[in-house]
């Protein structure tokens, strides 16, 4: 209907220009800035070199990246393990009348503020928080457990809690599309449940798994609020380190760390999309 290029371009132009101007250009700016130097009192000195990247690739920062990717991996893994049975139940086992309600209920917490959900966990996990007070009152423990908050445990809990809906939804979509007759055929041919799952359900839902993984992994790598609030600012994550560069007015270094982060994320995405294509072709 919109055959003429002119009309199409007119429709496309506003969004395209907006992103070009206020998204791509800023990214370009930090790419340029990542080769510059920190001025004596902050600010940017436009002399170009690779010094920021040399620094960013030192073991110190590689460790920071490593930790962030580890956090993201653990978060993604847990989300996957928790979500898969839930999505499976909603998509294939639940009474059709309750299906939609269950789905909505599973993603509803996403509609509330991430900050408040994180705060809720602080409220629960403090030394004199709900969990400890309840366990003390029940006589389960004698002294409050202190590692509940300001620990890696707390960061992972908060992160999983925040990202769970992003895993459930794509898994549900993938499982919903699954043709139940294929499963029945396999069972009729004598496959047991494990075989059906491994040989049929898992491969067919691989695109959903990959989508969910991407949706959970990316925000978790750059996580900033959970390490700060639930981790007690005790562990360096790439998000907090980049933020600190900004605070310390070292924009060039912050830019270099950001550019590296984007590059790694994009490479992972490329791999994921390859994997998805491979999985769906089989």
């Amino acid at each position: 209907m919109w055959e003429t290029g002119a009309k199409r371009r007119l429709l496309l132009a506003p969004a395209f220009l907006w992103l070009l101007l206020f998204f791509l250009l800023p990214l370009g700016l930090i790419v340029v800035m990542s080769f510059a130097e920190r001025g004596l009192y902050g600010g940017v000195r436009w002399t170009f070199g690779l010094q920021n990247y040399r620094r960013a690739l030192e073991p110190l920062y590689l460790w920071v990246y490593g930790r962030s990717f580890a956090l993201a991996a653990v978060t993604t893994g847990l989300c996957l393990v928790i979500s898969y049975p839930v999505a499976y139940y909603i998509a294939l086992r639940a009474d059709p009348r309750w299906k939609h309600l269950l789905l909505v209920l599973s993603i509803l917490p996403f509609w509330t503020s991430f900050l408040l959900r994180t705060y809720a966990w602080m409220f629960l996990l403090r030394v004199e928080g709900f969990v400890n007070t309840t366990l003390l009152a029940l006589g389960v423990i004698e002294r409050p457990i202190s590692w509940l908050l300001y620990s890696n445990f707390a960061v992972v809990i908060g992160q999983v809690y925040g990202e769970l809906p992003f895993m459930i939804l794509p898994l549900y979509v993938a499982l919903e599309r699954l043709d139940v007759r294929v499963i029945e055929a396999a069972m009729d041919l004598g496959a047991n449940r494990l075989q059906v799952f491994r040989r049929i359900v898992l491969p067919l839902t691989m695109p959903g798994i990959i989508t969910g993984t991407v949706l959970v992994f990316i925000p978790s790598v750059g996580a900033f609020i959970t390490p700060d609030m639930l981790g007690g600012a005790k562990s360096a994550m790439i998000g907090t380190v980049i933020q600190n560069q900004f605070v310390q007015r070292n924009h060039p270094m912050g830019s270099a760390l950001s550019v590296l982060l984007i590059v790694v994320v994009l490479v992972l995405l490329l791999l994921a999309s390859r994997a998805a294509r491979f999985a769906s072709r089989r």
């Binding site: 209907m1 919109w2 429709l11 506003p14 969004a15 395209f16 992103l19 206020f22 998204f23 250009l25 800023p26 990214l27 700016l29 920190r38 902050g42 110190l60 920062y61 930790r67 839930v86 499976y88 086992r93 909505v104 509803l108 917490p109 509609w111 509330t112 503020s113 991430f114 900050l115 408040l116 959900r117 705060y119 809720a120 409220f123 403090r126 004199e128 709900f130 769970l164 139940v180 029945e184 991407v214 990316i218 925000p219 900033f224 600012a233 005790k234 562990s235 998000g239 980049i242 600190n244 900004f246 605070v247 310390q248 007015r249 070292n250 924009h251 830019s255 982060l261 984007i262 994320v265």
Partner: protein, 609 residues
């Protein structure tokens, strides 16, 4: 075989556990918003008090208004742009298509922290003033992609024959768009609009970078509230927001299920009208004579003092907060920020002067200057007080719980005492934390010697396993709640906490410490320097200063006000620092390029186990 007949109990249990995990935190939060106790997670009886407090908290309501306004505008713009882009790219093959798709994918896959960082660098570079506009621009930029992909997914499932039929019947393309395509896309557009509204309403990370004067959104306000004290007031606000979002989601759910009926349209219209009415509500009610934008540390000015000034002059004072000098500088650097009054610390005043970011004060318009203690004037960072006047002075020290920690605390070394493992809190402030280690080693806290800094780092790495958290805002609350027993702390908050629990003590360690003067300064870019002068003079009035001090519990160098202070402040440790300790104490200085070294070692400390 009937697949639905057998649901294993394990699966049912799994479902239950997951939903419990999803809802328990929110429910507990909501229940305790009615709890009649400020600090405890133990039920003490029912009260509405926190709701009253939250709903009569003007900065909170202002922030909510700002958020709704930004979210509504973002939704409008992003939905229009995203939908038209999706229409344009539908069934269009070629170069532009893949190029545009790549462009639309980027905002979804680039981590938020990078988007925020890049945006603020960009706004600074083109010289755009940080404020509502920059927040709006950034929000549209990160949310337009979601609309694009949701609408496009729906477009792909549309039957092209419907449009073709309409065309064959003689409708022109615009008519087809209006009468056929858009109505069919309705649910997708509505869903993506709702998504954008929530994303915008909830965004903290990007907004924290690009917000300027008058653009404090609800998440920014909530973050600083959470950081500066966990009170049930936050629970109450959460519950209100929760109920509102649940209602919105319920409406969306019904629309999705039953299709958009006229009644729904009216309902959605009413909700939108209500929101817009709320957002613009205060514009209609009272037009203040003028607005003074103040950027100050959190909990650093008495709300009653602010109200008194507003009532006396008819000027509206807009208070916004920051939590580090560097964040303040970043705001000033990033763009031309429209703040009229800022409160930088000593070393930062020097940097701001050097960077030409301050304007000279007109001392003739400040008659109350005569009340200030001469010893607080003419300090090295601004020897002639051309650009700054002292607001408060303070020290860094140790706050601790006398009832938990036996024996007198006298030294920074007590923060390394393994007996208080997991009960020690350090400030989340690079220079202050290194200052402690350097002082303990007998060095200057402004050391630039790499050897000394390495030693300090090693000391801090050794301390790390004992530390419960690094926290610059909440350390008083952590002491009060018993989460921590001993804290690296600034004086005012600890002395304030003593009012709630007399077992809390504040000491200045014998190795010497950081001396702090926070100053009233007017940025060069201020829009109303006249009002700023009026306010500075008001703050130096002895009666006002006394009321202010008695509330925030930080000491001001206002000699005429001292006799009116509370006893706790009259006995402030600052008045009785032993001369040798004072001699070993220093003001922080800007260390220029050595900052990079500090940053590196700070990251190493944070990485250590």
């Amino acid at each position: 075989m009937n697949a639905r007949s057998r649901t294993s109990p394990i699966l049912a249990l799994w479902m239950g556990a997951t939903y419990l995990f999803l809802y328990a935190p929110i429910l507990v939060l909501a229940v305790f918003s009615f709890n009649d106790s400020r600090l405890l997670a133990v039920w003490r009886g029912f009260t509405w008090a926190w709701y009253k407090a939250a709903l009569s908290n003007p900065p909170m309501l202002d922030a909510l208004r700002t958020s709704v306004l930004v979210a509504a505008l973002t939704t409008l713009i992003a939905t229009a742009l995203g939908t038209s882009a999706a229409l344009a790219l539908e069934r269009w093959r070629g170069r532009w298509r893949s190029l545009s798709e790549a462009l639309f994918v980027l905002p979804i896959v680039v981590p938020e922290i990078v988007i925020g960082f890049a945006s603020v660098a960009f706004f600074g570079w083109i010289g755009l003033r940080l404020g509502l506009l920059t927040v709006l621009i950034a929000h549209v930029a990160f949310s337009v992609s979601y609309v694009f992909f949701v609408v496009r997914a729906r477009l792909a499932t549309l039957d092209p024959r419907l449009e073709e039929a309409a065309m064959d019947l003689g409708a022109d393309p615009w008519r087809v768009l209006w009468r056929i395509t858009l109505p069919l896309l309705g649910p997708a557009i509505a869903a993506s609009a709702l998504l954008v509204f929530t994303l915008s309403l909830d965004d903290y990370v990007i907004t924290s970078f690009v917000a300027g004067a008058g653009a404090t959104t609800l998440p920014l306000r909530l973050y600083s509230m959470i950081k500066t004290g966990i009170t049930p007031e936050v629970n109450a606000i959460s519950t209100v927001l929760l109920v509102v979002t649940l209602a919105l989601a319920a409406v969306a759910f019904r629309i999705e299920q039953r299709g958009m009926t006229r009644a729904h349209l009216v309902l959605v219209g009413l909700i939108l009208l209500g929101l817009v009415g709320f957002a613009f509500g205060d514009l209609a009610t009272s037009r203040p004579r003028a607005t003074l934008n103040v950027l100050i540390w959190s909990n650093y000015i008495s709300p009653r003092v602010v109200r008194a000034f507003e009532e006396r002059t008819g000027i509206k004072v807009n208070i916004e907060t920051y939590d580090s000098n560097e964040a303040l500088l970043a705001k000033l650097h990033a763009g031309v920020v429209a703040y009229d009054l800022i409160v930088p610390s000593d070393y930062m005043v020097r940097i701001l002067i050097r960077e030409n970011l301050l304007q000279p004060l007109d001392l003739t318009r400040l008659p109350n200057l005569r009340h200030l203690d001469p010893s607080a004037l003419g300090l090295p960072f601004d020897p002639t007080n051309t650009y700054s006047l002292p607001y408060t002075r303070g020290v860094t020290g140790i706050g601790y719980r006398r009832d938990k920690i036996a024996g007198p605390i006298q030294s920074w070394a007590d923060l390394w005492d393994a007996r208080w493992r997991e009960r020690i809190v350090m400030l989340d402030d690079m220079r202050e934390v290194f200052g402690v280690a350097l002082k303990l080693l007998g060095y200057s806290l402004n050391s630039t010697d790499p050897q000394q800094l390495r030693q300090a780092r090693d000391l801090l790495v050794r301390q790390k396993p004992l530390v419960r958290a690094y926290d610059s805002a909440n350390f008083d609350q952590l002491l009060l709640s018993g989460e921590a027993w001993i804290a690296h702390a600034w004086d005012g908050q600890i002395i304030k906490a003593r009012r709630e629990n007399p077992n809390i003590e504040f000491v200045i360690p014998r190795e010497g410490t950081t001396l702090i003067v926070d100053n009233l300064c007017i940025p060069r870019s201020a829009e109303r320097p006249d009002l700023a002068h009026e306010f500075i003079n008001f703050l130096m009035d002895p009666a006002v200063a006394a009321e202010n001090m008695n509330e925030i519990m930080y000491l001001m160098p206002n000699r005429s006000a001292w006799p009116r202070l509370r006893p706790e402040l009259q006995q402030h440790p600052i008045f009785s620092i032993p001369p040798d300790v004072l001699r070993r104490s220093e003001y922080l200085q800007d260390l220029g390029p050595t900052t990079v070294l500090y940053d590196r070692y700070w990251t190493e400390v944070k990485l250590a186990r």
